[in-house]
């Protein structure tokens, strides 16, 4: 806690929030006034989950959580743990081996979902994974088996220390990155990025998609494993810090990160004993895929989110993700509980030939990048992508300025040169989201609504407020009563 200022010789400046007349009375006395642009928290009835009480109940719960004597220290501790993580890439291996997945077991992005409620791209990715695993001969057969559900299990990546972009489907024969935080020994996993266009994560499952996945399991995964074992652990946190300084926000733009990663593993690749043609193909694949490093940023964020989880009284968001149907968040003080609301449609730019009618609601675990304090949170540092997502450079600065209002801390490891190397806004606080009405800004890709389509665009989206109101109601129930007060 900051040391208190001297009250009785207060100096020439006062902060005010509320009635302007009182601020004016201070200005009339030649006192410098910093006026807060205060807006009272409002709870839209639409933001209340079924049976979640009324707006007054939400505001009362918010006050209860804010008055929790544990909150300040607990939230600061959760955020400290989040920023203390140093993610190292230590291995690349098949998901079956890394996560104990057996044939028919699939992980997916977002909160729990069933086949019946799954969106088009989620279904498409699951169909593709069935084909990849040889569990079906064609799409129709795969779909029928998935609908029947026999021998099939779906569970969220997040329940397996894993994160997956877009549909986020992980099946046993896909290879995954293994990241650890050496300090705590915690682990996180993510699949390898397939590139752009028609790809499984956007719900495409055409033969070329399956063929690329087979190449990734046959050539790319083992080669990266050999390279990483040769070069030793790769400090992903350090690369993220540098990519943010180089104009990547780490979610929609990973160009600098990908090239820095390639630079780091190339010597190991070359000396791995692989055929020169394979090495050339791998280098070309990585070099041409600006998003390759996203799948290393995400498990870095997963380690950060997990590190902050489970601090009683802490109001920091530890996961944000979507399954194409629901948006879900987890909060430190409520552990593994999901708070969900309907996923929204992203606003942004479409690839040639596509329009708003082609887009699916928001999907993917990649909002872990915003959870860890980059992505949309650091738009100020990524002017190159501002126009892609429909904004100007001042908009980007304003976006990040808003994000500081709802985050607990600033992460000096991810510093923003344009903001005089201010640390990235980190540790979204559900109470601040409710107080200000400011929702976390998420940069995202857009998947096609129809299974098999692939990517149709990229843009901006925010979570539904309902996730945050539900979380605050749940947090309030966990606040211990204050001794000596009525009702205690």
């Amino acid at each position: 806690m900051t040391s208190p200022r001297d009250l009785l010789s207060p100096g020439p400046s006062v902060i005010t929030a509320g009635i302007d007349l009182l601020a004016q009375a201070l200005r009339d006395q030649a006192v410098e006034v910093t006026a807060v642009d205060f807006r009272p928290p409002t709870v839209d009835p639409d933001d209340l989950a079924g049976g979640a009480g009324d707006a007054d109940a939400v505001l009362a719960a918010l006050a209860t959580v804010l008055a929790d004597p544990r909150r300040a220290a607990a939230t600061a501790e959760a955020a400290r743990r989040m920023t203390a993580v140093r993610a190292q890439l230590v291995d690349v291996l098949p998901a079956g081996q890394a996560l104990g997945l057996r044939p028919g077991e699939f992980l997916h992005a977002g909160p729990p979902i069933t086949w019946a409620r799954a969106s088009g791209p989620m279904r498409g990715a699951l169909i593709g994974a069935m084909l990849l695993e040889g569990l079906a001969g064609d799409a129709d057969e795969a779909e029928a088996k998935l609908a029947a559900g026999e021998g099939i299990s779906l569970s969220p990546c997040h329940d397996h220390h894993t994160v997956g972009p877009m549909a986020g489907v992980v099946s046993p024969s896909m290879w995954v990155f293994r990241l650890v935080d050496p300090e705590s020994g915690a682990e996180a996993y993510c699949s390898l990025n397939e590139g752009l266009g028609k790809v499984l994560r956007y719900g495409a499952y055409a033969p070329e998609v399956i063929e690329r996945l087979r190449w990734m399991s046959r050539v790319l995964g083992p080669a990266l494993a050999a390279a990483v074992r040769t070069t030793g652990p790769v400090d992903i946190t350090a690369i993220v810090g540098q990519m943010v300084q180089m104009g990547d926000e780490g979610h929609n733009r990973n160009r600098a990160g990908t090239l820095m990663f390639l630079r780091q593993i190339l010597p190991g690749l070359v000396t791995s004993g692989l055929l020169a043609d394979d090495i050339a193909e791998i280098a070309a694949f990585l070099g041409a895929n600006d998003h390759f490093f996203l799948n290393l940023v995400m498990p870095c964020g997963k380690l950060m989110g997990d590190a902050a989880a489970g601090v009683p009284g802490a109001t920091v968001v530890t996961a944000m993700c979507r399954n194409g149907t629901d948006f879900g968040i987890r909060v430190s003080g409520t552990g593994d509980r999901w708070f969900t609301g309907p996923a929204r449609y992203p606003q942004g730019l479409f690839l040639a030939g596509f329009g708003p009618d082609d887009a699916n609601p928001d999907i993917g675990d990649s909002a872990i990048t915003e959870t860890m304090g980059i992505g949309g949170m650091v738009m100020a540092g990524a002017p190159a992508i501002v126009r892609l997502v429909g904004g100007s450079v001042p908009d980007a600065l304003a976006t990040t300025a808003r994000m500081y209002e709802i985050t607990e801390t600033e992460n000096p490891a991810f510093a923003l040169p344009i903001l005089e190397f201010r640390g990235s806004p980190t540790g979204i606080d559900v109470t601040r989201v409710l107080r200000t009405g400011i929702l976390p800004q998420i940069n995202t890709g857009m998947a096609g609504r129809v299974a098999g389509t692939g990517q149709v665009g990229a843009g901006l989206v925010t979570p539904p407020m309902q996730c945050f109101t539900a979380a605050v109601l749940a947090l309030a129930e966990l606040v211990p009563p204050v001794p000596g007060t009525p009702g205690a």
């Binding site: 806690m1 900051t2 208190p4 200022r5 009250l7 009785l8 010789s9 207060p10 400046s13 006062v14 902060i15 005010t16 929030a17 509320g18 009635i19 007349l21 009375a25 201070l26 006395q29 006192v31 410098e32 910093t34 006026a35 807060v36 642009d37 205060f38 009272p40 928290p41 505001l59 918010l62 006050a63 804010l66 008055a67 004597p69 400090d235 350090a238 540098q242 300084q245 100020a380 001042p394 600065l397 304003a398 300025a401 808003r402 209002e405 000096p412 490891a413 923003l416 903001l419 005089e420 190397f421 201010r422 640390g423 109470t431 601040r432 204050v482 000596g484 007060t485 009525p486 009702g487």
Partner: protein, 518 residues
């Protein structure tokens, strides 16, 4: 000579920042060589050229190499820590180029105003906790003007404030004067340090603090600070948390030579705690309990005596041809903006006039009938002596306080003018920062209209309690003159005004004349 070499993982700074940090280490007295840089091959080679033996390292490691005697290395490493911390800190609150949005929360504002010691909150009571917690977390003192803050939130805020070492003034704290700066509704007081003992006030009540501080100022007593604590602070539940903290602050303040604790009757156990704290204070402490005998003017006179200042004649302006005591028939109608001033008026006039009904009654039996006080212009006809606190929540829900917006009171004045049963109209006018810039501008014409509406057999006499100082921006003398010209008798002492009003009505009704009063 010692060579200190460490590699730190996971610390990344750009090369320009590191160059500055490296220079800070190298400039430490006694350090003969130093390098702080990312361990790229080039940087490692430069360190080796300086004679350092560098262990295997990668470009993501921060290389720290310092040479000197043991003390110099220690000092150099301390300088490194400071420079790294400064590099992290320099940017906190930075806004970048171009216009950026105004702060939306108190926390963001505390970053923009690192030197502001006080946060003044007047947001709706249901929303105040978050903003106040932001202030406390940033080590700032908070004045909560807002009312309707739940009791449990008040306790939580005051406990959080105590842990952080900051004072939480309020909720429902209307007045504070700190270091000469008036916060909320506050009068302009003479600066301390001009000789004599300066008095510090701890006050639960807003207009009570304004009346007492204005009278002390009138008497030539300097007031060092007025710290508000909110009306519930001395309740059993809140337990005087802020009163005790404010008392301790004033006790430790070299500018304060005498402390006055001003409150409504506290819970007995809390009163004991406060009295014990007062006894153990190094500074003399007087306690003024409203409603337990005496009034604010008497209290001011006692404080004058305690600090060795002679009591002045409190200024008053009586119009020519004012009625003599006991000559006015009818009932008293008190229309107050200040709750404590209304309370005091009832305490002074009650013993003279008998029962006085009110929306803030002295006894529950004296409450207004259901419905009478609910409207914008409540109908008080036939209720006998009535004193209203127009600053009470029932009148301020959804509209500004009558110290800012006179419209509710103007309606009541017109109603009193139209009711021949009303013999004396008693109103307060509160001056100072935050209050109406010209209250007499609207009040004097309304009073004149009310007075001239009556015929000779049913005259209306107006008495004004004018709470303010000669330094207030409204110009107290001009305000008094305007009210005097409207036919009002004007007093700077609220107790004197009330006593004068009661005295006008006090004589028994002459035999054979039917009373107008119900």
């Amino acid at each position: 000579m010692t060579d200190h070499i460490t590699l730190r993982r996971g610390v990344y700074h750009d090369s320009v920042t590191l160059l500055r940090i490296s220079r800070a280490v190298a400039d430490t007295p006694g350090v003969t060589a130093a390098q702080v840089a990312m361990a790229t091959p080039l940087n490692v080679e430069l360190a080796v050229q300086q004679g350092f033996s560098v262990p295997p390292a990668g470009p993501d490691d921060l290389l720290v190499a310092v040479r000197g005697d043991d003390d110099a290395v220690r000092a150099g490493l301390a300088a490194l820590q400071d420079a790294l911390a400064a590099a992290d800190r320099a940017s906190v609150g930075a806004r970048g180029v171009g216009a950026t949005p105004a702060p939306r929360t108190v926390r963001a504002a505390t970053r923009e105003a690192p030197d502001a010691a006080i946060v003044l909150l007047s947001v709706p009571g249901a929303a105040v906790t978050g903003e106040a917690m932001d202030a406390i977390a940033a080590g700032r003192h908070v004045m909560i003007f807002s009312d309707n803050v739940p009791l449990s939130d008040e306790i939580a805020l005051k406990d959080a404030g105590a842990r952080a070492g900051v004072l939480v003034m309020g909720p429902d704290c209307g007045t504070a004067v700190i270091g000469g700066v008036g916060l909320g509704f506050a009068n302009v007081l003479r600066a301390p340090g001009s000789g004599g003992t300066a008095v510090g006030l701890v006050a639960a009540s807003g207009t009570g603090a304004q009346q007492l501080s204005s009278l002390l100022d009138e008497a030539g007593v300097a007031v060092s600070h007025v710290l508000g604590v909110g009306g519930r602070d001395l309740s059993r539940e809140v337990g005087g948390r802020s009163t005790l903290a404010a008392l301790a602050l004033l006790d430790a303040d070299p500018a304060t030579g005498h402390v006055v604790v001003l409150s409504k009757p506290p819970h007995p156990a809390v009163a004991d705690t406060v009295r014990a704290a007062a006894r153990s204070a190094r500074t003399p402490v007087s306690t003024v309990l409203l409603g337990e005998g005496g009034d604010l003017t008497t209290a001011a006179e006692q404080v004058c005596a305690a600090v060795g200042v002679s009591v002045p004649d409190w200024p008053r302006w009586i119009p020519d041809g004012a009625p003599t005591p006991g000559s006015v028939r009818g009932v008293l109608r008190g229309l107050f903006a200040g709750g404590t001033l209304a309370d005091e008026a009832m305490l002074v006039t009650g013993p003279v006039l008998g029962d006085i009904r009110s929306n803030i009654p002295l006894r529950p039996a004296l409450a207004l009938p259901v419905g009478a006080g609910a409207g914008r212009v409540p109908d008080l006809a036939g209720l006998g002596h009535v004193v209203l606190d127009l600053g009470d929540d029932a009148f301020t829900a959804g509209r500004p306080h009558p110290m800012i917006d006179p419209s509710v009171r103007l309606g009541q004045i017109a109603a009193a003018g139209a009711d021949p049963a009303v013999g004396v109209l008693l109103v307060d006018v509160v001056l100072g920062h935050g209050a109406d810039p010209d209250p007499a501008g609207s009040l004097a014409p309304a009073l004149r209209t009310a007075v001239t509406a009556r015929d000779a057999t049913h005259p209306l006499t107006v008495v004004v309690s004018l709470c303010g100082t000669g330094g207030d921006p409204q110009d107290r003398g001009a305000q008094a003159s305007a009210l005097l010209e409207a036919g009002a008798a004007v007093f700077v002492s609220n107790a004197e005004a009330a006593r004068y009003a009661a005295g006008l009505l006090a004589a028994p009704t002459p035999a054979g004349t039917p009373s107008e009063a119900p």
